[in-house]
């Protein structure tokens, strides 16, 4: 094992995250629990920003005998995840500053960063055990996060549902891993491919593995926890689960499938194709019926996960790049929507129904505009970033011959436009029930403003900045797959 300083340095993303986590943990001990804790929240955001800045050095490294593999592509993905986490932190300020939650701020940050750390290890793993540890590090604190409002009935119900289904899916995933170990005798990503022969047992293991990851990404039919958990969890946590957790799982799934199962490509692409079409379609159908915006966004995120899978389905470097690109753009748009939902919720005494948004245009025009742009981007209307991300991901899948899947996904974008525009219609056109909009005019806190500004900038500019997609493609080509394939 290589233990000199440069080897440690290649773990800088994880180590700096641990450092941030520890600093916040210690700072929390010296904080007056009844204080507002504004400086603490600022500290968390600043530390997170510094952490992102430190991690912008993509390089290729293997550590611990190949258990940990960092590539420029995973570095970029980690940066995207960290940036998304920072956006979530910014938008959570208002909620955390509330009288009944302010004493739990420390827990929130430490738990969130622990899950992020788990995801970092998950996307960089080179061994199934490492992968599983990362996955669990990302899952267990997430359940605590969901149940952060533990005295609210919905909160602890959501937490219980999340931990129970999470346990179940982990057990099955572990079962799948044990089958792989049983048939191959190793768990190293680099060694497994040559030992796979695609027999029934391994196919079953593959399905179990995809199901476990499908649970994290909330793909149909493993998605049923999503709506209940998003609705019951604090809105900031729901935002975090819907973008960061999902994004990390998607990248990990795509990397493992291409890296470990290259010779079973015919099988996993079929499974992914079915899951993708099912997720997009079923989630769209369900989203139409929702009137609570948090539930609505839960189904929206399920359907977005279906689109993300298209990138993994393509399996090429272009597909990987489109996937990361899609996630980056999905992060800004979805965080923006959740930020609006969360601030409206904070300032209106917990209103999250779509009817409460009727006439929001008149009371909060700027917030409405942000929400509109974000929904347009989620729906894929040009020239907003969401159009380009959908375009690239469709193009990647189309080039690999999945034209039927792409066609069905395209049809579904029409349906998705319908329900995204329902919200826009409520905000601009529908008359409020009682003359005035249920949500009065208010001013957002500075943190939310910064978050929304960053998101709007992302929505408007990321699509036009071709360098991003270009760079992702170049880095995705550097992934070690082809090196592995060339060996056999």
């Amino acid at each position: 094992m290589n233990s000199n300083l440069s080897a440690i340095w290649s773990l800088h993303a994880e180590l700096s995250l641990v450092a941030v986590l520890l600093v916040l943990f210690l700072a929390d001990l010296f904080r007056r629990p009844e204080g507002n804790g504004r400086w603490f929240r600022v500290l968390a955001c600043v530390l997170m920003a510094v952490q992102i800045g430190l991690d912008l050095t993509p390089d290729t490294r293997e550590l611990f005998g190949g258990m940990y593999v960092n590539t420029p592509f995973t570095s970029v993905v980690k940066s995207i995840l960290s940036a998304g986490t920072l956006l979530v932190f910014l938008q959570c300020g208002e909620w955390l500053g509330r009288k009944d939650t302010r004493h739990r701020q420390g827990e929130f940050y430490v738990l969130t960063l622990s899950t992020l750390l788990g995801m970092f290890f998950m996307v960089s793993s080179g061994h199934f055990l490492m992968f599983y540890i990362g996955l669990e590090t990302a899952s267990i604190p997430a359940a605590c996060l969901v149940a952060l409002d533990k005295y609210r009935h919905k909160g602890y119900e959501a937490g219980a549902k999340f931990i129970l289904s999470s346990m179940f899916s982990s057990a099955l995933l572990l079962y799948g891993l044990s089958l792989i170990y049983g048939t191959c005798g190793t768990l190293y990503f680099a060694d497994v491919p040559s030992l796979l022969e695609g027999n029934a047992l391994q196919a079953f293991a593959l399905v179990l593995f995809i199901a476990g990851m499908g649970f994290k990404m909330s793909l149909v039919p493993f998605h049923l926890w999503t709506a209940d958990v998003y609705q019951g969890a604090p809105t900031g946590v729901a935002a975090y689960l819907s973008v960061i957790s999902k994004g990390a799982a998607a990248v990990a799934l795509a990397i493992v499938l291409r890296f470990v199962f290259p010779f079973m490509e015919g099988q996993w692409t079929l499974v992914l194709a079915v899951l993708s079409v099912l997720s997009i379609t079923v989630a769209n159908l369900m989203a139409i019926l929702q009137s609570d915006l948090k539930r609505f966004m839960a189904f929206s995120s399920v359907s977005q996960a279906g689109y993300i899978v298209l990138g993994a389905l393509a399996g090429t470097a272009q597909g990987m790049a489109s996937l990361a690109y899609y996630i980056a753009i999905y992060v800004v748009a979805n965080v923006a929507v959740f930020a609006v939902i969360s601030t409206v919720e904070q300032h209106s005494g917990g209103l999250t129904g779509r009817d409460a948004y009727r006439g929001l245009y008149r009371t909060n025009p700027r917030l409405t505009l942000v929400m509109t742009l974000a929904l347009f981007s989620l729906g894929g209307i040009p020239p907003f970033a969401g159009f380009f991300s959908k375009f690239f991901i469709f193009a990647a899948a189309f080039e690999e011959g999945w034209w039927l899947v792409v066609f069905l996904a395209l049809l579904n974008t029409i349906v998705s436009l319908y329900y995204y525009l329902l919200v826009v219609k409520a905000m601009y056109i529908s008359a409020p029930e009682e003359g005035e909009c249920a949500v009065g005019a208010f001013r957002c806190s500075p943190g939310v403003r910064v978050c929304l500004l960053a998101c709007v900038a992302g929505i408007c500019l990321l699509g036009l900045w071709s360098g991003l997609y270009d760079g992702l493609t170049r880095w995705a080509e550097l992934l070690p797959f082809d090196k592995v394939l060339a060996g056999f």
Partner: protein, 630 residues
Amino acid sequence: MEYTIWILLLPVLSFLLLALAGMKMSHRVSGLIGTVVLGAVAVLSYMAAFDYFSLPRQADGTYATLIPWNAEWLPFTGSLHIDMGVLLDPISVMMLVVITTVSFMVHIYSFGYMKGERGFQRYYAFLSLFTFSMLGLVVATNIFQMYVFWELVGVSSYLLIGFYYTKPEAIAASKKAFIVTRFADLGFLIGILIYGFYVGTFSFTPTETGLMQGAMMLPLALGLMFVGGAGKSAMFPLHIWLPDAMEGPTPVSALIHAATMVVAGVYQVARMFPLYIAYAPDTLHIVAYVGAFTAFYAASVACVQSDIKRVLAFSTISQIGFMMVALGVCTGAPSHEGGLGYMASMFHLFTHAMFKALLFLGAGCIIHAVHSNEMSTMGGLRKYMPVTHITFLIACLAISGIPPFSGFFSKDEILTACFAFSPVMGWIMTLIAGMTAFYMFRLYYGIFWGRENKELHAAHVPHESPLSMTFPLMVLAAITCVAGFIPFGHFVTGDGLSYDIHLDAGVATTSCVVAVVAIALATFMYARSEQPVADALARRFPKLHRAAYRRFYMDEAWLFVTKRIIFRCVSRPLAWFDRHVVDGFMNFLAWGANATGEEVQPMQSGRIQSYVMWFMAGIIVLTLMLLLCM
């Protein structure tokens, strides 16, 4: 020369500032911001021109083409990528000077002209947007960037024509301008795509191999691009939008619809000139014929219009026709061997921009004074507005081709080039030049001499405009007096080598004589308050007069084509298809989605046991599927 990027950035910053914060400023502040920024841009452009032409010539005697700033925006393949950048070569530098000069003058002029108008800040914001787009167009490093900015100037032109958006005519005119030019731009876009596909680049200077591959398709690609140019430059039969565009504020007409945007088509042909000469000389001659016909048509219509801005609009169309002809009659790049027209065209573009802007701004002063565009409300205005009168006269003499004003020199070069191409073309263009002199002096006499509308002038005494409006007139008049003596051939020629402009004695004499005769005729017919000859002619040929007044029914012809043929045979079936098939499909999707949504709703029961059951069911089905498929 990296500072040239600021020539593009400053106007766009000023646009953003005025558009976002304009309504919070007073009129004066917003106008000052726009004008000062434009002044700075003009200074930068002069610096760029000075620096560029001070550079030593290359070994082969040409000025180097510089790209001080370039960013790859959308890469497709190794050679095919869309860039955004700044390209400096003799014609782009010349255009920078023209655009910023006229735009700066218009900015100053608008202070007086638009004083107190509603939407003053919006006006200045749009002016900045237009200037940015036009500058971006001329410094484009590749055909696609040119297209992007080409559309941007179209948009800003649309916004400015429809500036008085409460007037239905203005709305109709802005729509017409946008649709007609947009329709023509379709040709441009297809041309670009063909060019990109076959030549494998969007650059103006493709590689040898690319040209070998695409040589067959180049005439078609260039021809289609010229369709776009013809739309923007109002060539027959796509000219119909320009006369209506006069509904916009007069300074806008001066800037966009006389000096800069409408010559974009000429600039485009000049930009692609090396390719035309080498690969598509026949296409180039088509340009010449289109230009010649347009010049003649517009000149004949201009002879009978009574709205002074319409006369100037048709005169613009006719003069752009001259520039197109000059480009089209080229048979080679070197100035001594058939390439004189290139230099002549660019020279005329330069001088025309100045004196036509001057004419429009003068017309603006007149309209400001009598509150009408109709010639019948004018007459005898020379007593009331001396500065406008003198400057307008200078511009009229210039456009008629009377030495020593600038128009004489550039028009003379065009005629020389035409005679070199074929004597017939030369005589036709000389005749049109004579018509130009005639209708310009008809206009001049109609405004400043002729029958004075005493009744109206007694009720409201016309007055000279404020200094903010007369100052630009004087500047432009001064330029018009001296611009002819610029050694233009030293800077801009078809092959890039220096060329000494020398007057062809025969051509110069003929054109002068023709112009003087035409002016004398106009004086005889229109200078006095009684105009028996003109009235008699109109009575003698009523049909011809009426047809010319109605612009030979071109608008009606277009309406017939669009309303009767396109709407009925294409749009109606398409609308039916859209309403029944496309919408029907969407409605079906919506209905199906709602109905199935209700069906799958029970899956989401809220009970964790059933969730786990679905989870297991999913795994089993997927496994079975894999096993059965293997």
